[in-house]
Symmetry: C2
Subunit: 152 residues, 2 copies
């Protein structure tokens, strides 16, 4: 099951890359693999990714990680997220549909939870149409204080 997912995506990746004259390298495959074996909803920063790679003794340079993350994001394979922090996070784009999950973030402890909302997505589609934008991604962030932090 997981393997099937991976294979499909591997193929997709290959064609996506080839189409635009990019090459398929072990580094790029490895990094994609990591995102595929990640629990749904998890997102990684460049540094998170480096740590995982280090653990698996896959030595990919930080520069290549950054370049690959940017490349995969530009291909629409990864979604680039930024929370209130100082660095970006990336996660796999799973749905074709466009109904991506969104994040609710505790400003105090920094924890995030995910949710999806069809209403928000529908509102987004309508707003984009009105503004004559071709919608690519919808990112909703709710900032607040989680239950634990409210209780101090």
């Amino acid at each position: 099951m997981q393997d099937v997912t991976k294979m499909v995506s591997r193929e997709e990746l290959s064609s996506l890359l080839r189409e635009r004259g990019f090459r398929i390298t072990p580094q790029r495959e490895k990094i994609l693999d990591i995102f595929f074996t990640l629990p749904e909803g998890e997102h990684l920063s460049a540094e998170n990714l480096q740590n995982i790679l280090r653990h698996e003794s896959s030595d990919i340079s930080l520069a290549t990680s950054y370049r690959t993350l940017k490349l995969l994001a530009s291909l629409g394979v990864l979604r680039e997220l930024d929370f209130a922090e100082d660095h970006k996070h990336y996660e796999l784009v799973r749905a074709e549909s466009g109904v991506q999950h969104q994040h609710i973030i505790c400003v105090e402890c920094g924890n995030t939870e995910e949710f999806t909302s069809i209403e928000v997505f529908e509102a987004a589609v309508e707003i984009a149409a009105k503004a004559k934008f071709e919608l690519i991604d919808t990112q909703l962030k709710l900032f607040g204080r989680c239950q634990r932090c409210q209780a101090q």
Copy 2:
């Protein structure tokens, strides 16, 4: 009209600061003033702010600008926004209500437009309640390609 708004906010600022043991300094007042005289919906980065200050020959150091922006944001006076860029933007929080305006951003030319959506805000309130979060701010970003960029 504009003056009234300013006076109220000045007072609010004073009490907000005093309440928490912060001091009222000319720099802080000046920076708040700039945000008040900004057209609604405009947002400034630290560098934007520096440029405006320089124009008015108010010499406030960059460090103080950063410190003030962070402080005012933590007090809920400013809203901290981050687009896909590498630096943060700040804008005045005008409504008490919580129905803040949102942004639609062109990934190609970087231009942003604003909109408000009650549906999105209502969805946010509901989701936060379900997650038992105390909602502080709702930020929706729509990424897409604007009409001009679609036409190349």
